[in-house]
């Protein structure tokens, strides 16, 4: 694993000491989890979630809108008038 590259992808600022420390630890873990590649999963459908639910949606519901002033929406002031 190119730890510096992965850290960049993950936006994790690492010191060179940290990179040195993490490299063997991550390699060891990856080595362990790679055992899955020995299993025959050629005819298996992947599972991404276990709820059995499909398309949890609801109908659109309207609720009161922001106040209108001609073509503009009126909202609370963000900046104070000093």
């Amino acid at each position: 694993m190119d730890v510096a590259h992965v850290a960049k992808l993950a936006n994790l600022p690492l010191t060179t000491d940290e990179e040195k420390k993490f490299q063997p630890q991550l390699e060891q873990i990856l080595d362990y989890v790679s055992q899955l590649q020995k299993i025959d999963t050629s005819n298996v459908i992947p599972t991404s979630q276990v709820t059995g639910k499909v398309n949890a949606t609801r109908d659109d519901q309207t609720s009161p809108c922001l106040r209108l002033d001609k073509d503009y929406f009126k909202v609370s002031a963000i900046f104070e008038n000093d």
Partner: protein, 476 residues
């Protein structure tokens, strides 16, 4: 004031007969927290003033007790639970001063049912850990022997029940984070079916694995709590519309002749999976199984053939989902920036990022999702032969604080018995079944098909009616 209540039922009887008031109970717990927390480091935040204020309001509203199943019951929440207006840190320096802007649905449900919040509990940062040592605020200590870990990641939650610093604690279980500390601290910990309890407002670890549960000193109390927290929540699209039954009401109707599956891969762990299993864990689990048999149930040997792969499968899927969930912590809108992440969080973010990156996604993440299907199939086959499955929770006894910190992989291997049901989305409960050397508790777990928590409560209740382990208390 001496403690004259035991569980929720006895507390409510005392409230109703005006032998005690909510404010007195809360004061008792606050005094106990003040006395014990310096040694145990279980609470990160104590909301003493709010708790007393609320309790005093409740002193005058005893009429509400019948419609509020957790009336005047002190509760504390793992610091992953958002609690409006109260500091919520996830055990991490990234959020060390973060005040929650809203409360989790589960928190609202506890409070609406009358529970009184005492504070927020220490945990491994972001729920990354099985010992409590990954908290950025120091580890919680095991109340049974303070040199030892309480387990994790709901470390504070388990220690607080064991040390009687609240009556209910809320936790989360993604790969064993309720069951592990429950076992290490000798308390009852429930991991409900995935989707049974809303995840809304609870800082996410791995979104397809996180289960929202709780710890108590008895199965009966656990059942009462689930009736309050369970149920569909429109804010959580993965929450289940499955109806919620009154779990505690059914406990007294004794079910006989249940078939209890004992997975042959779990009880005799070879060195290929972990460094074996402590003989005391094996012995105490066997004794628990024999007790269940003596209560009129049948033990059936079953096989869960993909058990050895479950851990690898979990340690691909979970870090992948973690890396995604933790990407929001950019230190721009709230919290500190990403350099404040601890070592374990950084490791998991990097593992996950790598496993999801172009060129590796297929070999790792996609493959793991397929193995997940195989793990689920194992359980489906098993549950066609048996009603519940029984097993140890952790392969080894609690270890000394600091003993295992230098080797992350060796800690991951301790999760081998807990992660499979998280992959399958099944419910499980950890129940104390004895003590090993050095006063260290051991628990065993029962697992059931989805949404059949009632079987866990039924069997667990029977076990606790004829054993005393759950009544034991540490000398503090």
């Amino acid at each position: 004031m001496t403690k004259i209540w035991t569980d929720i039922s006895s507390l409510h009887k005392l409230y109703k007969t005006k032998k005690i008031k909510p404010s007195e109970v809360v004061q008792w717990y606050l005094d106990r927290i003040a006395s014990l927390n310096p040694r145990l480091n279980a609470y990160l935040t104590v909301t003493g003033d709010q708790a007393l204020h609320r309790a005093k309001e409740m002193d005058d509203s005893l009429a509400d007790i019948d419609s509020n199943p957790l009336f005047g019951v002190p509760v504390a929440f793992k610091d992953l639970y958002m609690t409006k207006g109260v500091k919520t840190t996830a055990g991490s320096k990234v959020l060390e001063n973060h005040i929650a802007q809203y409360s989790a649905t589960a928190v609202d449900r506890y409070l609406k049912a009358g529970a009184i919040m005492l504070g927020k509990l220490n945990c491994d940062a972001w729920a990354h850990g099985s010992s409590g040592e990954n908290s950025d605020f120091g580890p919680t200590h095991n109340p049974w022997n303070t040199d030892y870990v309480p387990g994790g990641s709901s470390s504070g939650s388990a220690a607080v029940i064991a040390a009687d610093m609240a009556m209910i604690t809320a936790g989360t279980d993604t790969g064993g984070s309720i069951r592990c500390p429950a076992s290490f601290c000798g308390v009852t910990g429930l991991k409900p079916t995935y989707g049974r309890v809303s995840r809304y407002g609870i800082i996410a670890m791995a979104s397809s694995l996180d289960s929202i549960g709780h710890l108590t000193s008895s199965v009966e109390d656990s059942a009462r709590v689930l009736a309050v927290t369970a149920g569909y929540d429109p804010h959580d699209a993965t929450s289940s519309p499955n109806p919620v039954t009154g779990y505690a009401d059914k406990l007294n109707v004794k079910k006989n002749g249940m078939k209890i599956g004992v997975p042959k891969e779990y009880l005799r762990l070879g060195s290929t999976m972990t460094a074996g299993m402590d003989s005391e864990v094996e012995d105490l689990t066997e004794k628990a199984l024999q007790k269940l048999q003596s209560l009129g149930h049948e033990l059936v040997e079953i096989s869960l053939p993909h058990t050895p792969s479950s851990l690898a499968c979990y340690y691909i899927i979970q870090p992948a989902e973690v890396s995604s969930n933790l990407s929001r912590y950019d230190g721009i809108r709230y919290g500190n920036n990403r350099s404040a992440f601890g070592a374990e969080a950084k490791r998991r973010i990097m593992l996950g990022t790598y496993n999801l990156s172009a060129g590796y996604y297929d070999a790792y993440y996609n493959t793991a999702q397929k193995v997940r299907t195989l793990v689920i199939d194992d359980f489906n086959k098993a549950f066609s032969q048996v009603d519940v499955i029984a097993a140890p929770v952790m392969p080894h006894l609690p270890f000394k604080i600091g003993e295992k910190v230098s080797d992350p992989l060796s800690l991951y291997l301790e999760d081998v018995l807990t992660v499979p049901i998280n992959l399958a989305g099944l419910p499980a409960i950890s129940i104390p079944c004895g003590f090993a050397q050095n006063n260290l508790p051991v628990g065993f777990q029962l697992m059931a098909p989805q949404f059949q928590e009632d079987l866990l409560f039924q069997l667990g209740y029977q076990y606790q009616q004829s054993t005393d382990w759950h009544h034991a208390q540490p000398n503090l």
